[in-house]
Subunit: 358 residues, 2 copies
């Protein structure tokens, strides 16, 4: 196997996918949860997180952002780390992988063609009333997965939703999994206590019992989830070809919802692809979470950013950002088409230069 | 060649496409032009034409309509003819052709996943100020055509836009073609004089000279066109695989816009597919129009509806509806995959029964 790829669980999936054509779908959404101070790094300020998903996909498709004057970044102690959309774009461009964008409820709509699954963003999960229509979102996702899987051999689904690890923590908690201090985050100082208290608040305000939430995935998402989760669960379940969920611990919440909707779902044709920054993160444990759900392979890609001379990329090795916009899955899809991580790193550096110099 | 197919111009395209995989894209939009009394049959009343595009694509994807209690129909002298979405659905289902929907400005949005190219419907072309942003719509179309053509060997683009032949007449007139009494329409009594006066009114109110409009395709669309035309022109020009424009005389307006934007555009990998009800229509002349624009093949499919015992389908042979929702192109794509017109006719009859009995 390629040295840049680390596989947790069976590596059968990678062998099955080699040389297959992939379609990369990026699902975007917002919730007001990202406005909570300190909860996410996915935007330079809490208010700017509204723009991050739209700006990410504009960057992927156009190589520049239209809704914002600059690209989304995570700022920690004055250090700027660019959105992982940079890595995703490098990988997709190098391997000429087709890109589609789906809106599951972005606050700001991107200035590119995109598939509407759902228009309305989610609320703040502290209200216990975050999403209005998760079952409808799921059903639209099912329809979309069905048609997209007729157009490719391999569906790679990424996401951009600020504070998505917090809403995913909400879902995993509601579904009864042990996840405290196990979720990843976009900053080196993972604010576990803040995320935990936000979730506890939301669960309490929802007015539902733990048993009610655990037994009804759509009730749980409506209370304390986000619109990306039912959209991606629907697309994955609607697909008739292998699916790679391209993301970190958020994608374990998608798996939990799939299992809750369909306890006999065949997870053999589904895996999670992420970056080494998530799989080796000492502040979280994606494997510990996934093992509670099912036998699902996690594939982690190492872009070797410690070899880079671009400061923004080196920051990834120090715990900033880690993953997002399907970076891990996009790298995997490119590697499956014969692209090396070195090429991806160099292309990411070039994109950083181009974008920051303009 | 298949007996059900009549080819005007070169038949090379059909040979090139045999056994190729097709992707069917239905582009929907509205303009307030369809509210003019008597101008279109694409809806039981002028007000219901707002719902026709959304209902058409819901019917294609779901086999039922959600935005309306019943399917769109054309009513003439008390006789009901069902939307051509019935034929399109029959063909796509039989040949298992993937379907995507794109919104170029529908007044009512469908309750299915759809690609947003543009949200805002067009105005009444009598104002001479029908579309606000045709160049942006075109550019989004270009991006979409580029990505969709990576996912298929053959892109078939249909449309549903009530009063679309009138706005197409506006464009063709603005582009300087001789089209008086040559455009097709959805009713047996083609209201040429009404359409002509609407266009003349719009041209006058636009405040632009004939020369100004003729030399600037986006100015012309903004004045007197509709949002479907720049969307489909963009998708077709962005495509790197053969394109079939699935529609009647409206698609000649798309060709006129393509030629105006790119005078050296290679029309060898583009053709128009329609029904025999358009190509043999005695109230219009699609060949006369297309020959003024370029050497573009027109392929007409005959579904043999005179053999049907379903009254709504027999009405097609009497000049009702004729074409729409890409019916001709969908039949062509199915025939290319080995489906017979007899199978399409029988399936259309079954769909009529299912839908009308429920």
């Amino acid at each position: 196997m390629n040295e840049a790829i680390k596989c947790y669980g069976s590596s059968e999936m990678i062998q099955k996918l080699e040389n297959k054509d992939s379609l990369f779908l990026c699902v975007i959404a917002n919730t007001l949860t990202s406005r909570i101070n300190g909860i996410t790094g996915a935007g330079a300020t809490p208010e700017l997180t509204d723009y991050t998903p739209a700006a990410d996909v504009e960057l992927l498709m156009l190589g520049k952002t239209l809704c914002l004057p600059e690209i989304p970044k995570t700022v920690v102690d004055g250090n700027s780390t660019p959105t992982p959309a940079i890595i995703t774009k490098a990988a997709l461009d190098l391997a000429d992988i087709p890109l589609l964008v789906a809106d599951a409820g972005a606050a700001i709509k991107p200035n590119i063609p995109y598939i509407t699954i759902n228009e309305t963003p989610g609320g703040d999960i502290r209200t216990g009333n975050a999403v209005q229509n998760s079952e409808k979102i799921f059903n639209n996702g099912l329809l979309l997965g069905k048609v997209l899987s007729k157009l490719t051999d391999h569906l790679v689904i990424g996401e951009s939703i600020p504070a998505g690890t917090t809403t995913a923590l909400g879902i995993l908690t509601a579904m009864g999994y042990e996840v405290d201090h196990k979720m990843s985050g976009s900053t080196p100082e993972n604010p576990h206590n803040l995320k935990h208290s936000v979730v506890i608040n939301g669960l309490k305000c929802s007015g539902y019992t733990a048993e009610e939430l655990k037994s009804d995935p759509f009730l749980a998402i409506n209370a304390i989830g986000d619109p990306m989760i039912p959209a991606v669960a629907g697309i994955a379940m609607g697909s008739s070809v292998p699916v790679t969920l391209a993301g970190g611990t958020q994608m374990t919440a998608v798996c939990a919802i799939i299992k809750s909707i369909s306890p006999n779902f065949d997870f053999n044709s589904l895996s999670i692809a992420t970056t080494i920054f998530v799989s080796e993160d000492e502040t979280s444990d994606i494997n510990f979470i996934i093992n509670q759900i099912s036998d699902i392979s996690i594939i982690a890609v190492d872009p070797d950013f410690e070899k880079s001379d671009t400061e923004g990329l080196v920051n990834y090795t120090k715990g900033s950002v880690k993953e997002g916009v399907g970076a891990g899955g996009a790298m995997l899809a490119a590697i499956l088409k014969g692209i090396s991580v070195e090429e991806i790193r160099i292309k990411s550096e070039e994109l950083c230069k181009e974008i920051f110099e303009n």
